[in-house]
Structures are given as structure tokens and as C-alpha cells.
Symmetry: D2
Subunit: 101 residues, 4 copies
């Protein structure tokens, strides 16, 4: 089962700046070989369900080991059976409605 995910990880107890922790998760997605793109409120990640979920778990583990006492992740998971679709396809589909050629 292929899944498109959006994830925003919020560590607590590490001060106001959370960017070093967000960067740790980026590296985990990278090392896992998952397609990923960061935006202002999270990261789009896509891949096989088990691979994506293993990366999320590793992200929580690693942030805890690096001092995050409390972590809340906000995740969106999209699966579909009618056809294959990448994250890029979704954006292109909307853009096609905005700028029909």
C-alpha cells in the first residue's frame, strides 16, 4: 500500500526554536530513501506504508534521545485504490485547473 503523508513534528521542552529537530527528521526521511519535500508547516513524504511508518517511529525515537521530552506529530495519510498518484501529481492537477492550457 503506497501512502502520501504530510507530517509536522512538534517537540516540547527544547525551547522556542524547533528547527534543529525538524532537520533531524528530514535526515531520517532522506536516509530511508523516501521522496520528501518540506513546506512551511510540515513535510510531504511518500512511499510504501511500512517504510513511511518506520521513519515516523524513528523520528520520535531520535528526537526523544536528543532531549525532546514530549513530542506531538500531526500527520495526514492518503491512500487510494483507483489509481497510482504521487504528491507531485496532486499539485499539478490543481495547477492545471488554475492555468488551463
Amino acid at each position: 500500500m503506497y501512502v502520501l503523508m504530510d507530517i509536522m513534528v512538534s517537540p516540547s521542552g527544547v525551547g522556542i526554536s524547533v528547527s534543529p529537530y525538524v532537520a533531524m527528521c528530514q535526515k531520517i526521511f532522506e536516509q530511508a530513501g523516501l521522496t520528501h519535500t518540506m513546506h512551511g508547516f510540515g513535510t510531504n513524504v511518500e512511499g510504501e506504508w511500512d517504510d513511511v511508518m518506520a521513519a515516523v517511529k524513528r523520528c520520535h525515537h531520535e528526537l526523544h534521545q536528543n532531549g525532546a521530552v514530549r513530542i506531538t506529530s500531526h500527520i495526514k495519510l492518503g491512500t487510494r485504490t483507483d489509481r497510482s498518484q504521487t504528491m507531485a501529481d496532486k499539485v499539478t492537477s490543481v495547477q492545471g485547473k488554475l492555468n488551463p492550457s
Copy 2:
């Protein structure tokens, strides 16, 4: 790793009423032996990380098999290392601030 989760499952291609599909997931959480409480915009579920995640995956699988062409789940995941905490503890903590005895 113990996790507190909130999940809202949104199937597409099944018409306006999604309550039969939400009920399917409720049964899966129940059969998995996970503590769960439904509210107006999702369900609080808690348990060991792998058990909770297996239930989420089974929920997507089962809804697809029952006709949901497209599923989007919105999930919150909370883990902490400083102390153990249940979902009920969280609610009680806020209520204590509202009605100090």
C-alpha cells in the same frame, strides 16, 4: 513506546454519510484491545506504538476493501519520556485548572 493518538478517517467515493466507515475503524480498535473514545471529530486511541499503528493500517485496508476508493486520515501522535500519561490524565489535568478544589 506508548503513544496517545487522535485519528479522524475520511473515506471518499462512498457518498456523504461516512459513519458506517467510522464504525468499521471503531471495531478494529476494539478488537485490537486498544483504549479508545470517540468524539465529534475523531477518536482518541492509546497503546503501544506498534499495536496502534497496526490498527491504523488495518483500518485503511478494510475501508478500501469495503468500497472506499480514497482515504485520508488525520492523525495526532503524542509520546513523552518524562512520565507515563493516559488520555484521561490529560483531560483531568485541564479540568483541575478549571475547577480547583
Copy 3:
């Protein structure tokens, strides 16, 4: 336009325990006369769109004034035009599928 909302408010820069801040928002919803129910990962609130949104804004304002340097709110907004529906209706609808009488 009537709206069903779920809101989870996360203040940063105030330490690990955020329950006093969650309690402040509860009081704002109460004072605004909005139907509201807390759960483990947020609060269900319902009412007229403008009243609900004014309460959300007031919540951010008040938490900032009480020391929250940074606030992130996660919100779900549900509107529908086919029929009126309360938050309680939604829960009852799923329960009816779980325990058909």
C-alpha cells in the same frame, strides 16, 4: 453559517505543562456561550462561524498576553448545507452503526 470545530492549541515557551493555557481557552469558549466538549487531543466547539472564529482569535490573544511566545493551533472546521447537524449527532450516528437496536 453554522460550524462544527475541533481545536487543539499548543503554546510554546511556557514549559512542558500546557494545561493552564488549555484551560484559558475553555473559559473563553464558555464565556462566548459556545457548546464545547474537551477530549484528550483538543476541544469540540460549535456555533455560528463568526462567533466561533472570534473565540479562536481571543484565545490566541489571551495566551500571548499570558506569556506564550509562540502558539500553534490545529483546527478542523466542518460546514454542511444539506441539513443541520450538531457534534452530538455525529457521535450518535456512528454509535447507531455499532449497536443497531
Copy 4:
């Protein structure tokens, strides 16, 4: 109060493809003069609180008028008082941790 928002709008009762409806909201953000960037699971929008919220309301209104019987929006709202920050600043901050110069 300046706000960074992420919004994902999900209309129901309009079939599987929701991209025409997502495009409608994009146009509303554009016409409102708000900085906005689409990603695979939503759109980052930023501006003054009241302007951003007025656009969200208009988005729900317009989609209902165009046949969406039921709409659920998933929104993240970020405000801070310590310093001004744009959506682009947030991404740059993480990238700086990933690729220190």
C-alpha cells in the same frame, strides 16, 4: 496579529476529484492578496489574521455555492510575539541546519 496558516479543504459530495475545488480556494487567496504556496496536502497562506480568516470563510461559502454539500477544512494557525517570521523564514531555518555553510 500576523498569522501563518496551512489549510487543506476537503469537499464531500462532489466525487473523487477535488482539484477544481482546491483551485477555487487558491483563487480566493490570490484575490485577497495573501502570500500563498500550494503543497501536496494543503496550502501555506500568510497575512493579517482577519484577512486570512475572511478568505477561509469565503472559501467555504463559495464551495458550498458550487455544489459541495459538506466541507471539512484542516487548518494550522501559527502566531508569535517574539519576532516577525514569514513562512519562507521557517523553511530557510531548517535548511540552514541541514546544510550549514
